[in-house]
């Protein structure tokens, strides 16, 4: 076993021996178990009347979705939806409880939601729209989004080119599991929980030595400067990465267990109709997951270095959690292009699918135009290296005094 791996082992052991680590993990596990149970227990009610259990609802939607797999969202399907909705008693507020709804309309519910999304601000037209109108409205919404973000001519050209690769009419596929994973309940929720975990558990990796006064023994040892610094960073980062992977797997497991594994190859436009990239839901999820893993390493390095700089685990915890909340709560107006684009690169924003991920503004790099999710991995890696280097200077320059 190399010397570095021995130091890594002991730093890992220290993290594992902390009560805070296990309390935090227990809270996260309990959270996942409790919220996971909600999917399986409980029922849906309409105006106080029982409709179905969640499990039964899932089974119906899954069966309907699989039956409709591969169906084009075209004029024929739109007419079928309109006809089905026409069979519902118009003035019955509890129409979802009627046989007409369950047998005629329910099978189209998934597609209906997609069409609604495509119509965006014109959703009142769902039951009257033709195929031509539907895609025209969708295209107008796309262009309106480009205007809203203030895209340059070159960027518009780029996205027009990408639009050309998107298959129209869209093809329906049941993809609830992937919708779950790329939405607030999936990758985004893991990001929030992991940030909380990192803030609480990684802020003590360096400060513990000062608090316990073991820093004197470490700093006067042969490997007590550079090597132990890297061992601490490595142990903290790998631990954070492992927790991220576990929570991500819990999300995936919950999604697949409840919704089934269908939908990897479903077009992303089924949940994000205004997005012009030719990508599947599975690909989007994998990209988000990859960015999440990178961001967890970066965040853990940042937290550890901040704690060494401030010599306070409370301060670094507070900063990390504050940054996470402020990044979500403070919107930067789009007219401040560079700042708002950079703000969207923060993990808490980028991993929110309908915020940072599908931001159409591009980043020019050596003649190439990169989307935010293409550019950001390099940013996170670079920042991790910068934090690592800065942290080494801070740690190795530490002087034991004043006690």
């Amino acid at each position: 076993m190399s010397q570095f791996s021995r130091l890594f082992y002991f730093e890992w052991k220290k993290i594992c021996k902390r009560k805070g680590t296990w309390i935090c993990l227990a809270i996260l596990t309990a959270f996942y178990l409790v919220t996971g149970i909600f999917y399986f227990v409980g029922s849906k009610y309409v105006d106080g009347e029982f409709l179905e259990t969640h499990i039964d609802g899932r089974d119906r939607d899954l069966a309907n979705g699989r039956r409709m797999k591969g169906t084009k969202i075209d004029q024929q399907l739109l007419m079928q939806i309109q006809e089905a909705f026409g069979s519902i008693p118009a003035d019955d507020p509890k129409y979802q409880l009627t046989d007409e709804y369950l047998s005629n309309v329910r099978p189209y519910e998934g597609v209906y939601q997609i069409v609604n999304n495509m119509l965006y601000n014109s959703s009142g037209r769902t039951l009257h729209v033709t195929e031509e109108e539907l895609y025209e409205i969708r295209d107008n919404n796309v262009k309106s989004t480009w205007d809203q973000y203030g895209l340059t001519e070159a960027e518009i050209e780029y996205w027009k080119n990408k639009e050309g690769h998107i298959e129209k009419p869209f093809t329906y596929e049941y993809a609830q599991a992937y919708d779950f994973l790329v939405s607030m309940s999936g990758v985004y929720r893991v990001c929030l929980l992991v940030t909380f975990f990192i803030a609480v558990c990684m802020s003590g990796v360096f400060t513990e030595e000062h608090g316990r006064r073991t820093d004197q023994l470490i700093l006067c040892s042969r490997l007590g400067r550079k090597q132990i610094y890297y061992a601490k960073i490595a142990a903290g980062s790998v631990f954070s990465l492992l927790v991220t992977v576990i929570l991500l797997l819990c999300s995936i497991f919950s999604a697949f267990l409840f919704y089934g594994t269908d939908g990897f190859s479903a077009a992303i436009q089924l949940i994000a109709p205004q997005y012009s990239y030719d990508m599947t839901m599975g690909e989007a999820f994998l990209i988000l997951a990859g960015i999440l893993l990178l961001s967890s390493v970066m965040a853990s390095i940042f937290t550890m270095i901040l704690s060494e700089l401030t010599k306070s685990s409370i301060a670094s915890m507070a900063v990390v959690i504050a940054v996470m909340f402020l990044a979500r709560l403070i919107p930067i107006p789009l007219m401040y292009r560079v700042i708002s684009q950079a703000w969207n690169f923060m993990p808490i924003n980028l991993l929110k699918f309908d915020a940072g991920f599908w931001d159409p503004r591009l980043v020019p790099v050596f003649g190439l135009k990169l989307t935010s999710w293409q550019f950001v991995p390099a940013v996170y890696i670079l920042l991790s290296i910068v934090f690592l280097y800065a942290g080494k200077k801070i740690y190795c320059g530490y002087q034991v005094q004043g006690r």
Partner: protein, 229 residues
């Protein structure tokens, strides 16, 4: 074997904690006496490379204090050293052995030997948080000896030891002092009397006395009290 301290100084905003101390240490046991605030701990921290001096330098056989090579021959027991409560005694020793650059097998062998030397073999697999004050001090001494140091710096090493343990400790230090430089700071004058070859007295950051123990004809405590005024 020579540890050269040349005009070593540590100045803070309002105070000079160590004031241009120059001294050459060779093999033997050096007893460092001084009142609280005299600068002993600051001086020792600079000798161990964990506190950067404002001026001067420390060199051992041509090796500067701020190098890995220097730290590889150094053993240090701080006055207020810390530990990991949930580590066992053996875990603690193995961790520090890893920090000193030892491989797994050698670390295990050496840790076992040292724990036996300080009478902690039976408590080796118990968590340090269950140790008494004396046991914690003994494990501190043991870790300082892991790398068979050529420079051994001990700050108040006998605090918390009972009389029997203190005698064992003195004998151990005397033995180590035959082949290494041992610098021992303490308020317990009798420790210096029994084991130090050379007595150093610090006052207000300066070395006001250094001499062989034998040269001090009177009671050491009286001599010390006279020196510091």
């Amino acid at each position: 074997m020579e540890l050269v301290v040349d005009r070593l100084t540590k100045q803070y905003k309002n105070k000079i904690a160590v004031d241009r101390i120059s001294f050459d240490f060779r093999k033997g046991v050096y007893g460092l006496l001084g009142a609280n605030g005299a600068g002993k701990t600051t001086f020792m921290r600079m000798l161990c490379g964990i506190l950067q001096p404002t001026g001067g330098n420390v060199v051992f056989d041509g090796i500067d204090v701020a190098t890995e090579e220097y730290r590889s021959v150094l053993g240090y027991l701080p006055q207020d050293f810390g530990y990991y409560p949930n580590f066992t005694g053996m875990d603690f020793m193995l961790y520090l052995a890893a920090l000193k650059g030892f491989g797994k097998k050698y670390a295990a062998k050496k840790s076992k030997e040292l724990l036996e030397l300080v009478s902690l073999s039976e408590a080796a697999n118990k968590k340090i948080k269950t140790y008494s004050g004396g046991m914690k001090q003994r494990i501190g001494i043991a870790q300082a000896l892991l790398n068979d140091p050529k420079i051994l710096v001990l700050d108040e090493p006998t605090a918390g030891l009972d009389p029997k343990e203190r005698v064992r400790f003195r004998n151990l230090i005397a033995e180590i002092g035959k082949d290494s430089i041992v610098i021992l700071s303490t308020h317990i004058v009798s420790d210096i009397e029994h084991i130090a070859d050379i007595v150093l007295i610090m006052k207000d950051g300066q070395m006001i006395f250094d001499g062989q123990r034998e040269e001090i004809k009177e009671d050491l405590e009286q001599f010390y009290l006279k020196k510091i005024g």
